[in-house]
Amino acid sequence: MDHQSHSAEQARFEAIIAAEEKIEPRDWMPEKYRRNLVRQISQHAHSEVVGQLPEGNWITRAPTLRRKATLLAKVQDEAGHGLYLYSAAETLGVSREQMVDDLLDGRAKYASIFNYPTLSWADVGAIGWLVDGAAIVNQISLCRTSYGPYARAMVRICKEESFHQRQGYEIMRTLAAGSAAQKAMAQDALNRWWWPTLMMFGPHDAESAHSQQSMQWKIKRQSNDELRQKFVDQTVEQARHIGLEIPDPALRWNEERGHYDFGEIDWDEFQRVLNGNGPCNRQRIGDRRAAHEQGAWVREAMLAHAEKQRRRAAGRAA
């Protein structure tokens, strides 16, 4: 492509972004925009898929049939979210096999929150309330992302997420209103999940490697720190309502800012978990690999069955 038509396309691309319109799969786009999206959407998809594991741990041990049906439905939704997102990434010319391999070979990242263990039933409540709550804050913002297929996947996902957070909060509320031991279990789960949840929003804006360009291209619409603040502000009230205490001595209302101030995140821990050395990183990838390998016969059977049907149809036609 000559330089002139390239810059004409660049100008058109930028005009679409400036007009708050969506870029669609067959539009010209800068290679870096495409790569940025592939990275973000596939990481998002991996997070949905790996995110099934900590909660899946409790499906067989849910305390009632109602809780069990709910947890099954939630984990099933997360699998669906992974599929919506992989499909959105595929519109950018990356293959499903490539993305799966990247995850299984440890080349791809996913949300580091899922590298923490689920030690008690209250953790299922804490994940729904906090982790899905944080995901919703992020995903509502992403409904306005500039890439059409990603935005549409986000709208669909946001509709489904609402019950995830509510069922989690309901579990915490029930435990917090129960016996002293049950309340202590809920508090312990909050204590362990609070800080890793705040880390989900990523590094501070000043330290975030991809943020600035992503904001310019409107892939991201709000900064990490803005979204984190929004989450803290809404969650403090929810914790107070059920008499649980957020484990942060620095947490207090700042009248001037109109927001809660909160303590500093342990960024060393963030880096450690992100770089593969959290409590469950190896277990999570190991489990994904095992699931993929153990599912190989199903994929083979699907292909074999289709082939058999084809041959039968051809036999009938002959």
Partner: protein
């Protein structure tokens, strides 16, 4: 009766960037290029769209009416898939 048979195509139009393509109708044409041009002339004479997809009708596989129960009925009693199923104070913005 006419001897020439032009295959049937289903037409999908994206009315605006950011929205999904939506099925709008069908038409007959000999190949995809003709189908796109005919679709433009038939379905987008008044700026109804910014993008058109055409798909051979024979390439569309649909669930059958007889399968309706088996496909869709099992979701009816799974009210726990909906946010309103959970007992949460409304003022908390959950």
């Amino acid at each position: 009766m006419s001897k020439q048979h032009l295959p049937l195509w289903e037409v999908f139009v994206r009315s605006r960037r950011g929205l999904d393509h939506k099925h709008i109708g069908s038409l007959h044409a000999a190949d995809a290029e003709q189908a796109l041009l005919a679709a433009r002339d038939t379905y987008t004479r008044r700026q109804e769209g910014v993008s058109i997809w055409v798909v051979r009708s024979s390439d569309i596989h649909a669930s059958q009416f007889e399968d309706e129960d088996a496909f869709f009925e099992p979701a009816a009693d799974k009210v726990y898939r909906h946010p309103t199923f959970y007992d949460v104070p409304e003022e908390l913005k959950l």
